[in-house]
């Protein structure tokens, strides 16, 4: 039976008094069983909300991005690709994208390996593993704003942990968040702290999906712990690693709250991400056209990442 036809369409249409098989009978029947009513009641809430607040806004963003508009009245100053030219010639925006790239690099080369390493140590079900697992996930459940404020305190030269550590060695503490370069590095550390628990949880789930009999038989054949990890566990966990990297990419592109709470994008706008750039230079100044252009650029990057991931994923599953 084809799936995309209504119940009503499938009923044979015949003239004559309402009886079994007639259109009228079918309609009445479907009202009684509630098919039509159900559809008319169940689907519209989702369709309306989704169209109104997700699909239309994304379309509108691409429309507004061609205007010079402050959000009041109707957009009427069409300026072609001017906003996009401004976005891409803005050194602060380019640096923000660069920071997004740095977050991705740190995630790929520090955070994900760390999470994988730790996950392999606590993937069993012993008591200590369960406790450590619970601890490592705690930073992830905190709000980004909270994580940002906690570390803003820790980095404070006068009060925080960094200040204390420097004073132990008899130095005056640097004001980490006030120096270009250092502020971005500080941000990267917080990203690792906040999100590695998430990746760890992914890897633990992935590790538990590796069949135990394979590992058991390798162990009986005399393979060392390292060899089992290197040649059996890690290859089988490849898809999870790819997935985890994909989440890093998308997560980096959404990074916002943490930056506002930690550095506010400063010093000298050196620690923005694409979204905090959008907020600071598009929304706060109500430059709707310019902000929308930034939003569209973020959107396009997200879609490219998604397509790229799908291709890798398809290839991975085809090769198995």
């Amino acid at each position: 039976m084809p799936s995309n036809r209504t119940v009503i369409e499938e009923l044979p249409i015949r003239k004559g008094p309402p009886g079994k098989g007639s259109l009228k009978y079918g309609l009445r029947k479907s009202f009684q069983s509630g098919t039509l009513t159900t559809l008319l009641l169940f689907l519209p809430p989702a369709l309306v909300l989704f169209s109104l607040f997700v699909i239309l806004p994304v379309g509108e963003a691409s429309y507004y991005s061609f205007f010079n508009w402050n959000g009041y009245g109707h957009p009427n100053k069409w300026i072609d690709f001017e906003n996009y030219l401004r976005v891409f010639s803005d050194p602060v925006f380019l640096q923000s994208l660069g920071n997004n790239g740095l977050v991705i690099l740190v995630s790929a080369f520090i955070q994900v390996p760390l999470a994988l390493w730790v996950a392999l140590l606590i993937a069993d079900r012993t008591r200590s593993s369960v406790v450590f697992r619970a601890i490592f996930f705690v930073p992830y459940i905190l709000a980004d704003v909270v994580a940002g404020l906690i570390w803003r305190y820790l980095y404070d030269g006068d009060y925080g942990l960094v200040g204390t550590i420097f004073r132990w060695f008899g130095h005056d503490a640097p004001d980490v968040l006030a120096e270009v370069g250092w502020a971005t590095a500080a941000l990267l550390l917080v990203v690792v702290w906040k999100y590695f628990g998430f990746h760890m949880a992914l890897f633990i789930a992935g590790r538990q999906n590796v069949p135990n009999d394979v590992i058991e038989s390798a162990r009986i054949d005399g393979a060392s712990r390292w060899k089992i990890t290197r040649f059996i566990v890690l290859p089988l966990m490849r898809p999870v690693v790819v997935l985890s990297l994909f989440f890093s990419l998308l997560g980096s592109l959404q990074l916002f709250d943490l930056i506002i709470a930690l550095t506010g994008g400063g010093p000298l706008n050196s620690s923005h991400s694409a979204v905090s750039f959008l907020y600071t230079f598009g929304i706060r100044r109500m430059r709707v056209g310019f902000g929308s252009a930034v939003g569209v650029v973020i959107f396009i990057i997200c879609v490219l990442v998604m397509l790229f991931y799908k291709r890798i994923f398809m290839r991975e599953s085809a090769s198995r």
Binding site: N4, T37, T38, P45, P57, V118, F137, I141, L161, A201
Partner: protein, 273 residues
């Protein structure tokens, strides 16, 4: 060899655990310190336990007001997300009708859409609907942005429920809405919990959307409130840390109570691939 691995394992795990916990410890304990104490003694116990920081916060109406605001917003977001997405997922999983595939694909489009792209138009829409500075100005866009992922999770769960149940129910003359209420929902508690936790945490921690649609302090959810408080008392870290600690309590309490559901919910993207 085994004992070497065991030492190495503990060493690594304890180092990482302290990396996770020391910042939190410094925060909680910092709320009990005077400003002078904080300056010289970030990690140790307070020389004099000061509870004023905490008391000065919990005794203000403002603090409770913003927790209440966040609770209302999160409550409605969870209920509406579950309701709207399970209704849609049910029709997509169990009913056959024209354009079903189209609608299913349309509703999953949101998986690729970053909220930041939509934020300016969403602001303008919320403004034009007259919902700025109201709970609904946060709730409705949040629910809308939850829909795609929730529907994907729910629909695939619903589709795997045993077909015989539905056939038997239809034979007995049970209507579709009744099947939904009496069979589908009761059997789907685990996935509903997952979707609910995801919506709850997302709403509770949301910052960008209320930042854009809420200007009136009386309606501030707590993430806006905490940023404002920090701006106000930026150098009095004891107060700020006490505030941060108090806002961590609900999140950690939820985590301790429903650890399994929380982890499942927050990593559910991985389960589905």
């Amino acid at each position: 060899m085994k004992s070497f691995f065991s030492y190495y394992r503990w060493l690594v795990l304890l180092l990482v655990a302290s990396f996770c916990l020391v910042p939190l410890w410094a925060t909680v304990i910092g709320g009990f310190k005077t400003t002078g104490d904080l300056r010289t003694n970030a990690l140790g116990l307070p020389r004099h336990w000061v509870v004023d920081n905490y008391i000065s916060i919990v005794s203000t109406a403002r603090f409770w007001q913003m927790l209440w605001n966040s609770t209302v917003i999160a409550g409605f977001t969870v209920v509406l997300t579950l309701l709207v997405s399970s209704l849609a997922a049910y029709t997509l999983a169990h009913m056959r009708f024209a354009g079903r595939k189209w609608i299913a694909n349309y509703l999953t489009l949101g998986l690729t859409f970053p909220f930041a792209t939509a934020v300016l138009p969403v602001f303008i829409r919320v403004r034009d609907l007259g919902l700025l500075d109201t709970y609904w100005g946060v709730i409705l866009p949040q629910v809308a942005f939850n829909l795609s992922f929730s529907i994907v999770l729910l629909r695939s769960f619903f589709a795997e429920l045993p077909k015989e149940l539905f056939e038997a129910a239809i034979m007995d003359g049970c209507s579709y809405p009744r099947i939904f209420l009496r069979i589908t929902l009761p059997l789907s508690r685990p996935i509903l919990a997952t979707v609910g936790v995801l919506a709850l945490v997302g709403s509770w921690n949301n910052f960008l959307l209320p930042l854009v649609t809420i200007n009136d302090e009386a309606v501030y959810p707590w993430p806006l409130g905490i940023m404002q408080y920090q701006g106000q008392y930026s150098i009095e870290w004891g107060k700020v840390l006490a505030f941060v600690t108090l806002t961590m309590i609900p999140a950690i309490a939820l985590y301790l109570m429903a650890q399994k559901q929380v982890i499942a919910g927050l990593t559910s993207g991985a389960v589905k691939g």
